[in-house]
C-alpha cells in the first residue's frame, strides 16, 4: 500500500483570535461555537413566543364561542407566528446556529474566517428580533397583514398594526437581512477557503453541502425581500406608490395611484420560494448524515445527493410564481411555473429514494436521532406529495387559500425540518455539552411530537378539500361551508396541537436538565466519522483541533467498510492506520 506523503503546508494558518476580557469571551464572543449557541437560544426563545401564539390561534378556531382573542389580534398572531417561525426561527437556527457550530468543525477549520463579522452578525440578528418583539407593545400592536405582507392592505386602515406594527416588521426584516448577509459571507468563504488539507469539496459531509447551498440561496434571495420591504416602507412613510394602486378608503380618495400589488408579490415570492429551500436544504444535509451514522452505512449515491442539493438550489429561483396562480397573472406564466415546479420534484424525489436506499440493509440503530430521521422521511414525503397537487395550476385553484395549503406547508416546513432540528439536537448535544440527553424524556418527546403532528396536519388536508378557508378568525354557522363535522375536526386538531406543545415543554426541560445532570457522554458516542467528533476535547474548546489541524484521507461515510475491524473509519485516519478485521490483508482485500 502506498504511503501518503503529505508535503509541508505552503499556507500559513490564519492567526486565531483570543478574547482578552470576560465581555469579549462570553458576551461579544467571536468564537463560532459560542455564537452558534447564542443564535440557537435566541431563535428558540422567539420561536417559543410564536408557538404560544399558535396555541391561542388554535383555541380560537376550535372554540370560537370563547372569543379568547379578538379578530384583529387573530390576524396579528397569524402574521407574527408565520414570520417568526419561517425567518427568525428556522432560517436563524439552520444557518446561524447549526452553520456556525458545525461548519468550522466539519471542514477542519479553527473558526470562521471573519470572527468579528460573525459576532456583529449575531448582535444584528438580536436587534432584528428585538425590533420585531417590541411591535407587540407599541400602540396598535404588531402588523396583522399575514406573513406575506401583501399590499395594498398591509399598510392601509382595517389591517391591525397600521400605526407602527408594519413599519417595525419591515425595519426588522431589513436589519435581519443585513445581519444574515454578514453571516452568509462567513459561511460561504469559510467553506470555500478554510478547509483543512485533504478536505476536497467532495469529501465534505452533506450537512455542510446543505448549509452551503442554503447560504448561497440566502445571499441571492434576501435582496428581493429587502427591495420589497424598502419599497413598502417608502409607500407607508413617504406616500410613494410603488405597490399602491388608486384607492378609495372610507369614501376618501387616497393620494396613492398607479402602483402594482402584483409587483410586490413577484418580488416577495422571488425571495419566498428560495426561502423555503433555505430551510429545507440544511435539513436534507443533516438528515443524510444522521441516517448514515445511525444506520452504520454510507449514504447511497453521495455524488448525486450533492448534485441534487445544488440542482434544487438553482431550480428554486425559477418556481416562485406557483404561489401566485390565483393572483390574476397571465395564465401562460402559470403554465411555465407549473412545469418548473414539477421539474424540481425530480431531484427532491431522488434524495428521498437515496435515503431509503441508505436505510436498506443498513444496521439501523433505533436511537432517538434515527427515530426523528424516520419521522422526517415520512412527513416530508407526505408534504411533498401534497405539493404536487398545489403545484399544478388547475388543481391549485380550488385548494388555494384553504386549509389544504396550511396543512401542506406545515408538513414540509413545520414538521419535517423541525423533526430534523430536534434529531440533530439529540445527536450533537453530547458534542456541545459533553452529556447525553435523557433517554426516557427523549422517546416520550419523539412519539408525542411525531404522532401528534400527524394527527394535527393529516386531517387538516380534508378540511381544505371541503373548502374551509384559511385566515378566517371564525367560521360562523353556515352548514354549507363549514359542516359540524369540520368543526369537530378542528377541535380534535386543537387538542392534538396542545398535546404536541406540551411535549415541547418536556423537551426544553430535558435540554436544561441534561446540560447539568445528563450522563457524561463517552468520546464520540455515536461512533461517527465526521471531523467534529475527532477533536481532542469534547466539547471542543477554542481553536477546535489542538496543536495540529487534521489531515483528511477519506469522505465522511466510511461506515461498515469491508475489511475494517470497527464499523467506522474517521475522516482523518489514513489507510495505513486503519485496524483491519481478521482475514483481511488490506481494506476490501481478503487474505487468500
Amino acid at each position: 500500500m502506498s504511503e501518503s506523503i503529505i508535503p509541508e503546508s505552503e499556507l500559513e494558518e490564519v492567526e486565531l483570535y483570543h478574547a482578552k476580557s470576560w465581555w469579549t469571551e462570553k458576551v461579544f464572543t467571536q468564537d463560532a461555537k459560542l455564537i452558534a449557541i447564542q443564535y440557537g437560544l435566541t431563535a428558540f426563545a422567539i420561536g417559543f413566543v410564536a408557538l404560544v401564539l399558535s396555541w391561542f390561534m388554535r383555541i380560537q378556531i376550535a372554540f370560537p364561542e370563547l372569543s379568547i382573542i379578538s379578530e384583529g389580534t387573530y390576524y396579528q398572531f397569524i402574521t407574527m407566528h408565520g414570520m417568526i417561525m419561517v425567518v427568525y426561527l428556522l432560517t436563524a437556527l439552520f444557518l446561524g446556529a447549526f452553520g456556525n457550530y458545525l461548519i468550522p468543525l466539519m471542514v477542519g477549520a479553527r473558526d470562521m474566517v471573519f470572527p468579528y463579522l460573525n459576532m456583529v452578525s449575531y448582535w444584528t440578528y438580536l436587534i432584528a428580533v428585538l425590533v420585531l418583539f417590541v411591535s407587540f407593545f407599541t400602540p396598535g400592536g404588531p402588523t396583522g397583514a399575514g406573513w406575506t405582507l401583501y399590499p395594498p392592505q398591509a399598510i392601509l386602515g382595517g389591517t391591525p398594526g397600521q400605526e407602527s406594527g408594519i413599519i417595525l416588521m419591515l425595519v426588522s426584516l431589513c436589519i435581519f437581512i443585513v445581519g444574515f448577509t454578514m453571516g452568509g459571507l462567513n459561511y460561504v468563504i469559510t467553506i470555500l477557503q478554510a478547509r483543512t488539507r485533504g478536505m476536497t469539496l467532495m469529501r465534505m459531509p452533506l450537512t455542510v453541502w446543505g448549509i452551503f447551498t442554503a447560504t448561497v440561496l440566502a445571499l441571492f434571495a434576501f435582496p428581493a425581500l429587502f427591495v420589497s420591504a424598502v419599497m413598502m416602507l417608502f409607500d407607508k412613510i413617504l406616500l410613494t406608490s410603488f405597490f399602491m394602486p388608486a384607492l378609495v378608503e372610507f369614501g376618501e380618495n387616497l393620494t396613492y395611484g398607479g402602483g402594482s400589488p402584483i409587483l410586490f408579490q413577484h418580488l416577495f415570492w422571488f425571495f419566498g420560494h428560495p426561502e423555503v429551500y433555505i430551510v429545507a436544504l440544511p435539513a436534507f444535509g443533516i438528515v443524510s448524515d444522521l441516517i448514515s451514522v445511525h444506520a452504520r452505512k454510507n449514504i447511497f449515491g453521495f455524488r448525486m445527493m450533492v448534485w441534487a442539493i445544488v440542482g434544487i438550489g438553482a431550480l428554486s429561483f425559477i418556481v416562485w410564481a406557483h404561489h401566485m396562480y390565483v393572483s390574476g397573472m397571465n395564465p401562460y406564466f402559470g403554465f411555465f411555473f407549473a412545469t418548473t415546479t414539477l421539474i424540481i420534484a425530480v431531484p427532491t424525489a431522488l434524495k428521498v429514494y437515496n435515503w431509503i436506499l441508505t436505510l436498506w440493509r443498513g444496521n439501523i440503530n433505533l436511537t432517538i436521532p434515527m427515530l426523528f430521521c424516520l419521522g422526517f422521511i415520512v412527513t416530508f414525503l407526505n408534504g411533498g406529495l401534497t405539493g404536487l397537487f398545489l403545484g399544478n395550476v388547475i388543481v391549485d385553484v380550488p385548494l388555494s387559500d384553504t386549509y389544504f395549503v396550511v396543512a401542506h406547508f406545515h408538513m414540509v416546513m413545520g414538521i419535517a425540518p423541525v423533526l430534523v432540528i430536534l434529531g440533530a439536537i439529540y445527536h450533537w448535544f453530547p458534542l456541545i455539552t459533553g452529556r447525553m440527553l435523557h433517554e426516557g424524556m427523549g422517546r416520550f418527546h419523539f412519539w408525542v411530537t411525531f404522532v401528534g403532528s400527524y394527527l394535527i396536519y393529516f386531517p387538516m388536508h380534508y378540511l381544505g378539500f371541503i373548502g374551509v378557508p384559511r385566515r378566517y378568525y371564525e367560521m360562523g354557522q353556515t352548514e354549507a361551508l363549514y359542516t359540524s363535522s369540520a368543526a369537530d375536526l378542528n377541535v380534535f386538531i386543537t387538542l392534538a396541537a396542545l398535546a404536541v406543545g406540551f411535549a415541547q415543554l418536556v423537551f426544553i426541560y430535558n435540554v436544561f436538565w441534561s446540560a447539568k445532570k445528563g450522563i457524561i457522554a463517552e468520546k464520540n458516542p455515536w461512533k461517527a466519522t465526521s471531523l467534529e467528533w475527532q477533536t481532542p476535547d469534547q466539547p471542543p474548546i477554542h481553536g477546535n483541533f489542538g496543536k495540529e489541524l487534521p489531515v483528511i484521507f477519506r469522505w465522511a461515510y466510511d461506515y461498515s467498510v469491508p475489511g475494517a475491524k470497527d464499523d467506522f473509519i474517521p475522516q482523518d485516519v489514513p489507510n495505513e492506520k486503519v485496524k483491519l478485521a481478521e482475514g483481511y490483508s488490506e481494506l476490501g482485500v481478503e487474505k487468500t
Binding site: 501518503s4 503529505i6 488539507r197 485533504g198 419599497m231 418580488l267
Partner: protein
C-alpha cells in the same frame, strides 16, 4: 480510485488561490449586484404604466458622474503606488479619492435639493420615487465603502509591518469603487433612457 485519493489527500483545502478578503469582496459584490438588478427589474416593470413621467436630468448629475469617475481613477493610482511601495503617494491618492467621493455624495444631495425645489417630490410620481430610492441606495453603499476607506487611509499614516496586507486592502477598496462606478453608470443610463 486510489490515485484520485492520493491527489485528494494533497488538496490544500481552498477552492480559490485568491486571498480571503478578495473572495469575500467578490461574494459581497455579487449580492449587491443582485440587489441593484432586482430594483432595476422593478423599475423597468413599473415603467410600463401610463402615469410614468420623465424626470429632467439636472446638469449637476453629469458633473457628479465625472467626480465619481475621478475618484475611481484616484483609487487606481493609489493601488499602483501601494504595490510599488510608495506610501506617501498612496496616502495622497487615497485622500483625494475620499474627498472626491464626499464631493459626489454632496453633489447628489444638491441634485435632490434642486429637484425638490422644482416640485419633483418623492411621492409625486413613481419615476421620481425610483430616482430618489436608487440614488439613496447607491449613496448608502458608498458610505459602507467609506468605512473601509477610513480604515485603509488611517493605516497609510502609520508605519506598516513587512507582512501587512496594506496594498491588498487598497486594491480591494479600488475594486469596490470601480464596482460602484459601474453600478452608477448603469443606473444613470437606465434613468437617462427613460
Amino acid at each position: 480510485m486510489a490515485d484520485q485519493a492520493a491527489i485528494d489527500d494533497n488538496h490544500i483545502g481552498r477552492s480559490s488561490s485568491h486571498p480571503l478578503p478578495r473572495v469575500a469582496l467578490y461574494v459581497l459584490m455579487a449580492v449587491i449586484g443582485v440587489l441593484f438588478s432586482l430594483f432595476s427589474v422593478a423599475y423597468i416593470g413599473r415603467m410600463a404604466y401610463g402615469d410614468w413621467r420623465i424626470l429632467p436630468e439636472p446638469t449637476l448629475l453629469w458633473f457628479n458622474t465625472g467626480v465619481i469617475m475621478l475618484s475611481s481613477f484616484a483609487f487606481s493610482r493609489a493601488t499602483i503606488n501601494a504595490r510599488e511601495g510608495d506610501i506617501k503617494r498612496t496616502r495622497e491618492y487615497l485622500l483625494l479619492a475620499g474627498v472626491l467621493t464626499f464631493g459626489f455624495i454632496i453633489g447628489q444631495l444638491f441634485v435632490w435639493r434642486e429637484l425638490v425645489s422644482f416640485g419633483y417630490f418623492v411621492s409625486t410620481n413613481p419615476s421620481y420615487a425610483f430616482f430618489y430610492l436608487l440614488t439613496a441606495l447607491h449613496i448608502l453603499h458608498l458610505f459602507g465603502g467609506l468605512i473601509a476607506w477610513l480604515n485603509v487611509t488611517y493605516k497609510s499614516f502609520i508605519p506598516q509591518k513587512e507582512t501587512s496586507d496594506f496594498s491588498l486592502k487598497v486594491n480591494l477598496c479600488a475594486i469596490y469603487w470601480h464596482f460602484l462606478l459601474i453600478v452608477w453608470t448603469l443606473l444613470f443610463v437606465m434613468l437617462l433612457l427613460t
